[in-house]
């Protein structure tokens, strides 16, 4: 399970963003930078910029969404449990800021579930019970809020697989969920160029890794 949860989000290039204003321009620069930053210094720099944009705008949830994503990546770059938790706490605080601007949002709920899922990695034996419950609850809520959100399905599939692996039986319905995510990614039309659109590539990778393996067994 550790290994599976440790599958890190690969490099996700957001589609080219048209700069049609200072906000879009700044986001267009920082979103791909957040996904591609390779050192914690570079990532912290991007997160700081996103937080500045969020604070200056005041009514946009996207900067906080990506800043929170940045904290998840930052958490992942650190080794010690205390450091990992510190950045995951920051990710949740940042998601909470976005929640105030856009309550009951599927993307934000899915990201929150992602944080819970990554918490398990710190200490699976002790935390598995509590955080797997929380992660499942978040992913299921995210799906309920927007049944068409491919990321909610993708993350739910990852969680199902990780849990089933821990228990040592099957895929836990992961392939079905990931296949649904695949369909949704194919038909996805982001609301705006800066709306979340990541996940298609890692979903494909997860299908290749999990579902091929299932068939060959």
């Amino acid at each position: 399970m550790r290994k599976n949860l440790l599958i890190i989000i690969g490099v996700l290039c957001a589609s080219a963003v048209f700069a049609n204003g200072p906000f879009e321009k700044a986001m267009g620069k920082n979103i791909p930078a957040m996904f591609t930053a390779e050192t914690s210094e570079a990532l912290q720099n991007v997160i700081n910029q996103l937080n500045r944009i969020g604070e200056a705008e005041g009514d946009r949830w996207e900067p906080y969404y990506y800043a929170a994503f940045g904290y998840i990546r930052l958490s992942d770059m650190h080794e010690g449990g205390e450091d990992k938790d510190k950045y995951m706490d920051l990710a949740l605080e940042t998601i909470a800021k976005a929640d105030l601007i856009k309550p009951e949002d599927s993307e934000l709920e899915a990201l929150r579930g992602y944080v819970h899922m990554m918490r398990i990695v710190v200490d699976p034996a002790t935390r598995g019970m509590k955080y797997s419950g929380m992660a499942f609850a978040s992913f299921q809520k995210a799906v309920a809020l927007d049944p068409e959100n491919p990321r909610a399905h993708y993350l739910l599939g990852r969680m199902q697989f990780g849990t089933a692996q821990f228990m040592g039986n099957g895929d836990g319905g992961a392939c079905e969920t990931l296949a649904r995510a695949k369909e949704l990614f194919a038909s996805e039309k982001p609301e705006s160029p800066i709306a979340p659109s990541w996940g298609n590539k890692t979903n494909e990778e997860a299908i290749a890794y999990i579902c091929k393996k299932e068939e060959s067994e």
Binding site: N48, A56, G81, G133, G172
Partner: protein
């Protein structure tokens, strides 16, 4: 043309205003540069992140009344008004003292929580420790500072008697926390470890919020709202239970019913005791939790049980003569607690608990019926003045009514008392920095029976000696009403007193921890008497001491999928109390206690194995056939216990355990006949376990929509 140039400038610069460069350095108070600080002009995108030297530099087109913000996790935010053409700035940031970085006062305390940032234990450890039989005190008995007293199953801490440890659930005192058991057989805690999200086991020097315990406080926090609906069914060699959890938007309900009957087990496995009716128990738990607001939580918990057993005890002098023994108990406990934050700085906690316990015990024609009614109310407020200073103040009333009826052939005799302990407490916490913290508190108690007042100070301090290590010290005074039998005979007997002095060193690495703690405990005002049943011989002049060293090492890093810990306690104690003719080591104290606990998960067979070895050196007993007092010494105690949990699939787990695998006949002491035989000798009998081994088998089934959940963490 000029217009065109203006336009180009505008396009290039994005702003008609002049460009200004802002640069400088950000450091800690100590001058250490800070890396990663977000430095920016308030309300704009303009800013930069500090580099490894703490330096930053950026340009802004804003001009008027600029405010520069420096923001960094773990530090207080800095807001600086900027004038035009500022020189390079030097910004010093002050560290925030937070839960994450603050030194923790660990003298005397073992903390366990699911979050487990600094804890040496997890709640899960309680249920996976072999030999503990999923019993909270059973698992805590593998920690240093405890002495194995195998015939009771209770927590005996640092030379203290079992009654000197008190249990608190959500801040409320629990009376009669152990299920009844046959004479000299271990009892279990009534409270399932699965109920709790966190616990703090204090082996001394605990907070002023708690009282009426001379040695130790076991502070348990019940779980908050669960996330999923589920139903659990357990089928065990000793009984069965079914529990269900329902979650709603802002509340949850959990219920459990359990039936235990040892008859089939005793049929199969030979017992040292002759049972007429094996222990049987009906037990029901209900919990209702409501989230009253974003930060508020209201919890109700109730537990009710009925148990009884009957056996025959051989007369010590004439083993052929057997006397019937009956033990029966009806128990109800209700606990309500409320917690809420009021603004950023104030918090409030309030609670009420009610306990009713009716114990009936009889030996032949002599019987004792003891009824306890306990009532506890408490209110606590806390005030967080800043990240460095916090206060806590509260008041509580602990009431206890005990009525006892003794009956024999000659008639019956009734005694009783109503005790009301009113207490108020105050505690303040001060962090000079994240590495140096102090706590000072005081607890005042008034007892209606003695009309006496006690004032007990509690002081502690902790200092971080390195990123992973710290030292802490604690001092405290503790008062407790003497044992029930004494108060029944003489209600105005004054409280007994203990003073603790503790020094602790702790090292916490990633996956490894080490603790060493030395302590000195002084007992005063202990009750002395010639005859327990003659109150005219009572006096509060008894005293004693306990001193020793506790060691603990835990490691789940060195060996793959393997977690182990080692505990050792050295204890030197003597008391002059009860009917002791001088200072002697009491029968419940052993000089050396050692535990080794190991757990290993083997992926290939989806099973977790656990092994616990416990050792305790011999204890004193009063040998009536020898000269002197308490001159007897029992052999050392050894126990090797083993458990295994096998995950059959997501929803089914099979669990097996064997306590005392080697079948060692541990002797806890000796009982003597009341009168000598014709040779002038007293007949004796060893106090031993009711059976050499205890074997348990269980199948645990979970039904949940969420396929990821099972009872694994419950085992």
């Amino acid at each position: 043309m000029r217009y065109a140039i203006y336009l180009i400038t505008l396009l290039l610069a994005g702003s008609p205003f002049a460009q200004q460069t802002i640069s400088g350095r950000v450091t800690e108070k100590s001058g250490e540069p800070l890396l990663g600080v977000n430095v920016y002009v308030k309300g704009t995108y303009d800013g930069a992140t500090t580099d490894i030297n703490g330096s930053f530099s950026f340009t802004t087109y804003e001009e008027d009344s600029l405010i520069l913000v420096a923001s960094f996790i773990g530090f207080h935010e800095v807001n600086l008004p900027l004038s035009k053409d500022s020189e390079p700035l030097l910004i010093r940031m002050r560290e925030k003292v937070s839960e994450l970085n603050a030194v923790v006062i660990t003298a005397g305390a073992f903390h366990a929580s699911e979050e487990g940032k600094r804890e040496v234990l997890k709640p899960l450890d309680i249920v996976t420790t072999a030999g503990a039989t999923a019993d909270v005190p059973g698992a805590l008995n593998t920690l240093p500072g405890t002495q194995t007293v195998g015939e009771t199953g209770r927590l005996f801490v640092r030379g203290g008697d079992g009654r000197e440890t008190k249990t608190f659930i959500d801040g409320m005192l629990v009376h009669n926390e152990y299920s009844p058991s046959a004479p000299n057989t271990p009892g279990r805690s009534r409270f399932s470890p699965f109920m709790f999200k966190g616990m703090s086991f204090s082996t001394g020097g605990y907070s002023a919020e708690y009282g009426q315990a001379l040695s130790s406080a076991l502070i348990l926090q019940s779980k908050d709202l669960p996330d999923n609906n589920r139903t659990d069914i357990s089928l065990m060699s000793v009984g069965a239970d079914i529990s269900t959890t329902r979650t709603f938007e802002k509340s949850s309900f959990a219920g459990k019913v359990q039936y235990t009957n040892l008859t089939p087990y005793f049929e199969l496995v030979d017992q040292n005791l002759r049972w007429d009716k094996a222990p049987e128990e009906y037990n029901a738990n209900l919990a209702y939790r409501v989230k009253t607001s974003k930060t508020g939580m209201l919890k109700f918990y109730t537990n009710a049980s009925r148990s009884d057993m009957e056996l025959y005890e051989a007369d010590i002098a004439n083993p052929e003569t057997v006397l019937p023994v009956k033990v029966q108990n009806d128990y109800a406990h209700f606990n309500a607690s409320y917690k809420e934050l009021m603004g950023d700085k104030w918090g409030i906690r309030a609670g009420a608990s009610f306990t009713k316990s009716d114990d009936l015990a009889s030996l032949s024609n002599d019987s004792r019926d003891q009824e306890l009614t306990g009532f506890h109310t408490k209110i606590v407020t806390d005030y967080q003045h800043s990240d460095r200073i916090a206060f806590l103040a509260g008041a509580e009333v602990i009431q206890r009514e005990v009525d006892q009826v003794l009956e024999d052939e000659t008639g019956s005799f009734a005694q009783g008392f109503k005790e009301r302990v009113s207490a108020s407490f105050f505690e303040s916490e001060w962090f000079a920095s994240s590495s140096l913290g102090f706590k000072a508190g005081v607890r005042a108690e008034h007892n209606n029976l003695t009309s006496g007042e006690t004032v007990a100070p509690r002081i502690s301090a902790a200092y971080k000696t390195g990123a992973k290590s710290q030292v802490s010290i604690a001092f405290g005074q503790f008062y407790q009403t003497p044992q029930t039998q004494i108060i029944l005979s003489q209600p105005s007997t004054q409280a007994e007193k203990a003073s603790h002095y503790i020094a602790n060193y702790q090292w916490l690495g990633e996956g490894q921890s080490f603790r060493i703690e030395a302590y000195e405990k002084r007992y005063d005002q202990l009750v002395k008497y010639d005859q327990l049943f003659d109150p005219s011989t009572y006096s509060s002049i008894g005293n004693g001491y306990a001193r020793g060293v506790d060691l603990f090492w835990r490691d789940n890093k060195t060996f793959d999928n393997t977690d182990y810990w080692v505990s050792y306690s050295y204890l030197d104690t003597e008391r002059e109390f009860r009917d002791f003719p001088g200072a002697f080591t009491p029968t419940f104290a052993s000089s050396h206690n050692f535990s080794f606990v190991v757990k290993k998960f083997i992926d290939e067979i989806k099973s977790q194995f656990g092994l616990t070895y416990s050792f305790a050196s011999g204890r004193t007993y009063n040998d009536l056939n020898a000269e002197g007092f308490l001159t007897g010494r029992t052999p050392a105690y050894h126990d090797l216990s083993f458990n295994i949990s096998y995950l059959y699939n997501n929803q089914v787990i099979v669990h097996a355990m064997v306590n005392n695998v080697l079948g060692i006949n541990n002797i806890y002491g000796y009982q003597f006949a009341d009168t000598p035989n014709e040779n002038g000798m007293y007949a004796s009998r060893a106090i031993t376990s009711p059976a050499r081994r205890f074997i348990f088998l269980g199948v645990f089934i979970t039904l949940s929509k969420n396929k990821g959940i099972n009872q694994l963490p419950n085992l």
